[in-house]
């Protein structure tokens, strides 16, 4: 197995172009598991953990651009107030050791339907920045995933960053698992409220072949809130609105039975989480 260890972004892209079969490794918390289990025997590894550009984040044009190599620990510490939904998700990832090594770039690279970074990024309408020696493209996250563990990432491309607006309002994330820490999501849900633009964002995890938005629920709630003038004068959300929102979130999911849970339970849990997460986010909004 060849091992490439670029020290700069330009070198990384050049190496990826030259060795499209090389598997990028960032924190290694997914890649090493696959190697250990003999599920993957790549011809080469491309270790991008020493590329300084990937470990940076900055703010420009009202957007945050966060390098693919920023760890969960750093996300929580450095970006918690600006990306509260993502920080909540980051706190639930694995254990402290995994959060120190694991990156959002790696989460996106694995493109697992259970990746915890995905629902809050979907809810925040984030985009993924993909780069190659051919150039750079920005892909809206809901167009990034193409199937379980599949994405639009081309063989010569690397994920350079994700781009997202700092939370314009309250955000929430919750995840159901069968133990109280270090657990892969059985189902997860994120919601983001943008009072200025009157937008609602959602993200569903582990309940469909890919992470996805609950478009129907977003539109329904945006319409309800606009019609009732609730963004301007927030009042408690009526029960039927919460119910309908939860129902539409569930309708967007297409879960399966697997070793971690049943499809029926996943639907049920999504409805409960959608209701709760929205009511918490709305309560935050009313407080401010």
């Amino acid at each position: 197995m060849d091992f490439h260890y670029p020290r700069s972004w330009a070198d990384a892209l050049a190496l990826k172009a030259e060795h499209p079969e090389a598997v990028p490794i960032a924190g290694g918390t997914d890649v090493m598991v696959e190697l250990n289990f003999n599920r993957r025997r790549p011809a080469a590894l491309l270790d991008i953990s020493a590329v300084p550009e990937l470990a940076q984040w900055d703010r420009a044009d009202g957007h945050l651009r966060v390098g693919a190599g920023v760890s969960y620990t750093r996300l929580v510490r450095e970006l918690g107030p600006q990306l509260p939904g993502l920080a909540m998700a980051a706190r639930t990832v694995g254990s402290p050791q995994i959060r120190n090594r694991g990156t959002v770039g790696g989460n996106l690279g694995s493109a697992s339907p259970a990746g915890d970074a995905h629902p809050p990024l979907l809810a925040g309408r984030a985009s993924v920045e993909l780069a190659s020696v051919r150039g750079t493209r920005l892909v809206p996250l809901d167009e990034f995933f193409t199937g379980p563990k599949r994405s639009v990432l081309a063989a010569d491309e690397l994920i350079s960053a994700f781009v997202v607006r700092p939370a314009p309002g309250p955000e929430q994330f919750c995840k159901v698992g069968t133990r109280n820490a270090m657990v892969i999501a059985v189902a997860s849900f994120a919601v983001s409220l943008d009072p200025e633009r009157g937008r609602v964002g959602t993200g569903i995890g582990s309940a469909a072949p890919t992470p996805r938005r609950a478009g129907g629920a977003e539109e329904f709630l945006e319409a309800e809130l606009a019609a009732a003038g609730m963004w301007q004068r927030p009042r408690p959300l009526p029960g039927p609105v919460l119910d309908r929102f939860a129902e539409l979130v569930t309708a967007s999911a297409s879960p399966i039975d697997d070793v971690r849970g049943t499809a029926a339970y996943r639907r049920h849990a999504l409805a409960v989480m959608a209701r709760r997460a929205l009511s918490w986010a709305w309560a935050d909004l009313m407080r401010n």
């Binding site: 909540m88 133990r179 109280n180 059985v186 849970g261 029926a264 849990a269």
Partner: protein, 782 residues
Amino acid sequence: MSTLTGQTREPAAPGARTGNGIGDDARRPDGTQKVAGRFAFSSDLWADGMVWGATVRSPHPRARLISVDPSEALRIAGVYCVLTHEDVPGQKTFGLEVADQPVLAMGEVRYQGEAVALVAADSPETARRAVAAVRVEYQPLVPVVDPMKAMLPTAEKVHPSGNIVRHFKLRSGDPLAEAPVVVSGEYEVGMQDQAFLGPESGLAVPADDGGVDLQVATQWLHVDRRQVAAALGLPEDKVRLALAGVGGAFGAREDVSLQIHLCLLALRTGRPVKMVYSREESFFGHVHRHPARLRYVHGAGRDGRLVFVKAEMVFDGGAYMSSTRAVIGNAGTLGVGPYVVPNVSVDAYGLYTNNPPCGAMRGFGAVQACFAYEAQMDRLAEELGMHPVELRSLNAMAQGSLMPTGQVVDSPAPVADLLRRVWQAPLPPPLPAVAGVATEGLLPGGMANTTHGEGVVRGTGYAVGFKNVGFSEGYDDYTTVRVSLAAGPDGPVATVQSAACELGQGLVTVETQVVRSELGLSDVVLETADTRVGSAGSSSASRQTYMTAGALREACARLRAGLLARAAARLGVPEPDLSWAHGEVLGPERAVLGLSELLEAGPLEETVEWRHRPTQDVDPETGQGDAHVQYCFAAHRAVVDVDTELGLVKVVQIDTAQDVGKAINPGAVIGQIHGGTTQGLGLALMEEIQIDAGRVRNPSFTDYLIPTILDVPPMRVQVLELADPHAPYGLRGVGEAPTISSTPAIVAAVRAATGRRLARVPLRPQDIVGLDEAGAEGGPSR
């Protein structure tokens, strides 16, 4: 927080109180090494010129084995050999009780993961590639996987002898007894794994005499040796075993896994051979806890007194026998719980199927039964409008009670007292009254922010359980030790030689404590556990502290007798005029002879083969007989918070009370109780090997979940020390009791919070919210 209460009635050992003797919190001799990461586990073994072994395993739960073609594997550079059953020179089958399992598959494979062939290669990587290159042709057969169908006379047979490995029958009292209050229920226990952290590993080195030296992590060196020697066709003295560092066992290392394979490869290649299972392979490489279905009917008077219990239990033993017979014996004899029941009928079946083989795991048959009978006791209490502790106490066995087997309980059995203690222990602060506040990690869902109090209901549950200590039903159960005593440069040194296995439980600490106390010295050397001495029996069945302490006490007594004889000769006085105190011999007129002086004449050595009192086989038709040596008892109270909408559970607090007879090492006792309670929590809430048509769906720690620190609540432990007059120092085995009742206590608490029957463990979120159709008893009960 932990407390030690109660009293010892047994006189203290005659030796000195060195602060590291019996009853002290002596430090583990291997503690610093383990904490510092310097302890060598079996996976760290190394020898110059060694090669690596690996195993070809069946992907099918049942198939005809047509052919094994090694040619492609043998062409890989660095591959030394590929072995099949044809290369097994001696007995081609092995087994703990009955040799029914092929060393390497012959004719038919009977479970997914069964070993079919072995390879040796110059690196683990090459060995892995060689495994993939061995061409095995199978003709898959329909596996027998449903235990209820496997029982039927019409079922296809997994072995020619039929699918029923044992049918244990117990009949006592009046079979037609009736009672005014009757509750019945069906229960199910999933397949738990021991989930030790150190995977199977060992190193076999061929010896010049044509024999082999094997270092391995195991629970019982001599039973391994018996099986290895038989398979190799060698006399036992040509097969020498030594214990390598064990990373947990919990029953899973009582059966042979890679022992025979390693030795076959070493003798074939003429080189040292090492094997280490991966985590995934480990799930296929050892036996698990028997999954069970249990049907109970309890009858009681209106006053709550039990009139009868009828039970039918079906334990799925999987493809090979392992210890199924003994597990069934426990489940059957202990099946009504620590209660006095005048009329009992139990039928317990252990089966062969094409599911993974099951055998020993902490609690060994008592766990499955306790989950069911304690659920029944709660239902009975509910039916009678009694408090669950009141009902249990009313029926609790005590010293002098009769077991349903007719055996008299002839030592303290403080069942009611243990229950009272956990009942009266302080409760945790109540749930916060207002919902809507995020409480990091404290509510069900833990760190995952699933509730701010919505849907959360608190519940409390109780359970008590018991288990036999030691090997039962007439088994000739003994332990050998050799203790020598010699003068050293810094004073007298005692050296202990024993084959008893340290698994992490702290046996090594106990050994040093007993010898220090008995001989009044501080320098105790433990030799590596190996087969140079006789068998120590298994480190299982909560027996090894009992047995080894008994053997060491006897050896030390004989050494003291030898010292007294020397002193008598030296002082010219008769032995009765001498006494032993604090490591010195006291004679008349203040004569004192120290150990060092007495050892000037040379070292002393004693070898002891020590037995606990004998037990009896039970009557095959009635289950009557003095089957057991001793019982251990524990009670638990669990307080849980349940998110009743999401089906998630946070255990808030667990209180345990356990009688240990005598805490040889109080710190280690608490550790055993914490660990055992946690393993029971795992079975209650998450631990299950999921099987589908004979195939394991979750052979990894990604999906076989064990509790994390956030799942384990504060545990308060009350330890009683009511001496058992028949046991060394009055002690009771400690390791298993806490595992038995913690599961039913937690499930009872979840039932209390949800009002659901919850008849199956581990509880799944879908059961707790009532979504699962399969858990037919999942509907609300009130």
